[in-house]
């Protein structure tokens, strides 16, 4: 059993003081952010509602991207990703807490979605025609359903994975079999819930506007941002000298490849949406881009094109940069910033009609959800093993090499 011993060279648990340090930072950010957000609520309720939606959705999409990663690795029976999958299980753990963070959105829904929630909306024949879908009780009901689905899937997979860690040698394979079996139906539920949540929470900010690709666009951004988080987790665990064998430069390289791929995928989907609407030039559709291509918003739009695609594309094209701690981490940070700007760009023009202006309200409403997310991930890191210690594909993951 010499081999088992070599694997155990990797530290299974996060050292206590590091966990405490991380938790401390996370809790500070969360406390500052939440306190600031509370203040923002009293200062400017309207702006708070919008900014909070941005912050909440930023965290939720990252959690969803992580959940997708967990599901797709099981679905494809991937062997390389055993340790990264555990890290994504942590990140998908934010989803149940996103349900709590949704409370302000739900409470202030009338400020956000007044275009279709207000009484005047029913005088608009088009909105009246949509009221079978866009009505208040159904909106809340669907939101609850999304969180039940997401939290349920995330919890179940994380639980199975944790139980596998604790299971006896002979039983561990059954866990993997179960998770692989459940991944397929779970991904169907995931796709539909992500899409309709995007329609409900973001697309309906302008209830006249519609785009069939919108769910795919949100999906692309979610996966990209969550892979950026994964890259950062991988790099930090490596830097602490914690995972030497199950999450190495080779795994980082693979994460970099996926990140690169999804950056291109996001651009592809974003371009498809823009290009078809621009080319056909039908007023009811172009209004979305019209608003975002005038005044200050146009700079945000161009910034998105450069920062969310051109720059990271060039950064991660080379094999060397995908393997480099410095470049990959820089790209990951840029992608997280750009993902925030992407969502900001989707939501805020509905409030800042006359031009973009970033205020302290936006900042605290970002820090609040991000802090909560960090607290959750820090807690999960402390309470679980750093990688699935009994996963039958572990030997395969250790052997990964990108020649």
């Amino acid at each position: 059993m010499s081999s088992a011993a070599t694997i155990e060279k990797d530290v299974q648990r996060l050292p206590e003081e590091q966990g405490k340090k991380l938790f401390g930072t996370a809790a500070t950010i969360a406390a500052l952010g939440l306190a600031g957000s509370a203040a923002a609520f009293f200062v400017d309720k309207q702006r708070f509602a919008h900014s909070w939606l941005v912050g909440f959705y930023f965290l939720t999409t990252i959690g969803l991207g992580a959940l997708f990663f967990v599901l797709i690795q099981h679905l494809t029976r991937a062997g390389w990703s055993v340790a990264p999958r555990r890290h994504m299980e942590w990140v998908s753990g934010v989803l149940p807490f996103c349900a709590l963070l949704f409370v302000p959105v739900a409470a202030l829904a009338h400020d956000l979605y007044h275009h279709w929630m207000s009484a005047e909306a029913m005088k608009d024949p088009i909105l009246k025609g949509k009221s079978g879908y866009l009505n208040v009780p159904f909106f809340y009901g669907r939101s609850v359903l999304y969180f039940v689905i997401w939290a349920g899937i995330a919890f179940w997979f994380a639980k199975q994975s944790a139980d596998q860690d604790a299971a006896k040698k002979g039983d561990t394979r059954a866990f993997t079999g179960r998770m692989q079996g459940a991944a397929a139906p779970a991904i169907l539920l995931f796709a539909l819930s992500l899409t309709f949540a995007a329609f409900d929470w973001i697309m309906s900010l302008d209830p006249h506007w519609f785009s069939t690709i919108f769910g795919v666009y949100i999906f692309a951004g979610s996966v990209t941002s969550s892979l950026a988080v994964l890259a950062i987790i991988n790099i930090n665990l490596q830097k602490q000298g914690l995972l030497k064998r199950v999450s190495t430069i080779e795994h980082r390289h693979d994460i970099g490849k996926l990140l690169f791929g999804f950056i291109v995928f996001w651009a592809y989907i974003g371009f498809s949406q823009f290009f078809l609407i621009w080319y056909a030039n039908i007023p009811e559709e172009t209004i979305f881009f019209k608003r975002r291509l005038v005044g200050e918003w146009q700079y945000v739009s161009y910034g998105l094109l450069l920062g969310h695609f051109v720059l990271p594309f060039l950064m991660l094209l080379s094999r060397h940069t995908k393997r480099s701690v410095t470049v990959l981490r820089a790209a990951a940070v840029i992608m997280l910033v750009m993902h925030y700007i992407d969502i900001y760009w989707l939501v805020m023009p509905s409030l800042d009609v006359n031009g973009a202006h970033f205020t302290w309200v936006d900042l605290v409403c970002l820090l609040g959800p991000v802090g909560v997310g960090m607290v959750v991930v820090a807690k999960r890191m402390q309470s679980s093993n750093l990688y699935p210690i009994n996963d039958p594909r572990l030997p395969e993951a250790v052997k990964l090499q990108n020649l």
Binding site: S3, A4, P125, R173, I213, L276
Partner: protein, 497 residues
């Protein structure tokens, strides 16, 4: 791809209950038996069915020849195109065949980048299929210009009349996209063929064969340096082909989606068309490979695992297509646009509802049977299902194209498209072209990538005989997985990466 020659090594079988069946079956399979099997397909007398099928395919190809002769002599009016449906079976056939090609590129490029080693048994035939499908697709735009001898006008050729193709038209982008696709696909296919052509050359029994194969094998000697360059070229071509999988059908979807016609103009078209293309392509690969493996006794190389994996991809892409149908329908209602709504209700319940429901049952419902392992591994059932999917994907294009056109904004100009006999014979004829080329390919070229298949065999693992795993790590931890791990991972494949 390993060149470690360790022939006559018995392959140990180890079926893993969490999902890794061996890639090549059979206790006695070695490097040389694989070479014998695949090279034998081109060397031995072909099965009795082959000349019959070739004759049949040639006859059908002649139908294409006759139809196109008629078309050139008579003009495109010989097709049933008329107001309001000015675009029907021609573009349907074009999109159908271009879509079929996508599976080959996905298998050879994307699955390669994703380290899916099972692709090795099917990639060669799928890539060949891609090329023949693009040829069949090319027939349509080439002859739709009417005066086919002026076809070169589709390219922006400088001329003194200052007549240029319209650069704002996606039809011109199609010219660039499809010709790039064809070029890269042929290059990729040929680069992969080189080592295998050298194998055939070395086994050739006549001087002529030796010379012809020798020319196309480009002096391949299987040296280390050759393999090194080969691997690099292969990886670069895979990287270049990957965006092509997306771009070609994206631009095909632009043919429709940049317009303002309800039913054509919708933002999900690009990824939806790509998913549909992969879906239809896999169905065609399956249809072909199920027959080929049976006729040539390749069940140990194209195993049930390969077929099952392809069925899973069809389930996934079929569900994506179903998702796109659902989004289109939902947004048509949600948009509040009466024309959009009308188009979709008309699709489902109008005069073409028969076509719409054929499409839904073939494309959305039939792949759902692949949720069940019993069905995924039953050859007769999957064969029938792939035929259904092929039919359904033809109908998908027909439904999109014709139902969106036949009832336009002015009810007085509504109509109902009926194909003429030449419409039908042209489309049937393209199958003749496709199968004729495919049969020639099966007969004269190695239909399985010999070198790549060897690379995923246990014997290719330099540590296959060691008592411990490659690094002495991890393997013993799981006892019985040991053998499986060795042949299913690591070094053989790492050379690709």
């Amino acid at each position: 791809m390993s060149v470690v020659v360790r022939d006559e090594t018995a392959i140990e079988l180890q079926k893993d209950e969490i999902g890794r069946a061996p890639l090549i079956l059979g206790d006695k399979q070695t490097f040389s038996t694989v070479t014998d099997t695949v090279a034998g397909m081109t060397e031995k007398k072909p099965p009795k069915a082959w000349p019959l099928l070739l004759g049949l395919a040639f006859s059908v190809l002649m139908i294409l020849g006759a139809s196109l002769t008629r078309l050139v002599g008579w003009g495109t009016g010989t097709w049933g195109l008329n107001h309001p449906v000015g675009w029907a079976w021609d573009i349907t056939g074009f999109v159908f065949w271009i879509g079929i090609g996508h599976a080959g590129t996905l298998i050879s490029a994307i699955l390669f980048l994703f380290r899916q080693k099972w692709r090795t048994s099917i990639n060669r035939a799928a890539e060949a299929m891609t090329i023949f499908a693009v040829m069949a697709a090319g027939v349509y735009p080439a002859f739709h210009v009417g005066r086919v001898w002026l076809l070169y006008w589709v390219f922006p050729v400088p001329n003194q009349m200052q007549v240029w193709p319209n650069f704002k038209s996606p039809l011109l982008w199609d010219v660039f996209a499809v010709s790039t696709y064809m070029t890269v696909s042929i290059l990729f296919w040929y680069v992969g063929l080189v080592p295998d052509l050298a194998t055939l050359r070395d086994r050739a029994t006549t001087k002529t064969k030796q010379m012809v194969l020798g020319i196309f094998a480009l002096g391949w000697r299987g040296s280390h340096r050759h393999w090194l360059n080969y691997e690099k070229a292969y990886l670069i071509l895979a990287g270049l082909s990957t965006p092509l999988v997306l771009s070609v059908h994206t631009i095909v979807s632009f043919d429709f989606a940049v317009s303002v016609i309800p039913g054509w103009h919708t933002t999900i078209f690009p990824p939806y068309f790509v998913a549909g293309a992969v879906f239809s392509g896999f169905a065609m690969v399956m249809t072909l490979m199920i027959i080929v493996r049976k006729v040539y006794n390749l069940q140990h190389i194209v195993t049930i695992r390969h077929l099952e994996n392809m069925n899973k991809i069809m389930l996934a892409t079929g569900s994506m297509v179903g998702y796109a149908y659902a989004m289109e329908f939902f947004i048509a209602w949600y948009s509040g646009n009466p024309y959009e709504k009308f188009t979709f209700i008309n699709r489902a319940f109008g005069p073409y509802s028969w076509a719409y429901w054929t499409m839904v049952s073939c494309n959305v419902i039939s792949p759902q049977f692949f949720w069940f392992k019993k069905i995924r591994t039953s050859i007769p059932i999957m064969f029938v299902l792939t035929i259904f999917i092929n039919i359904g994907m033809w109908f998908e294009r027909f439904v999109i194209i014709v139902t969106s056109l036949h009832r336009d904004f002015v009810p007085s100009s509504w109509g109902y498209f009926r194909p003429t006999i030449i419409d039908i014979s042209t489309f049937v004829g393209t199958f003749g072209l496709f199968f004729f080329m495919f049969l020639l390919f099966i007969r004269f070229l190695p239909a399985i990538a010999i070198g790549e298949v060897k690379g995923v065999m246990p014997a290719a693992d330099p540590h296959a005989h060691d008592d411990h795993g490659p690094e002495g790590d991890g393997h013993d931890a799981h006892g019985s997985d040991d053998k499986h791990d060795k042949h299913d991972d690591g070094d053989a494949e790492a050379a690709h990466g």
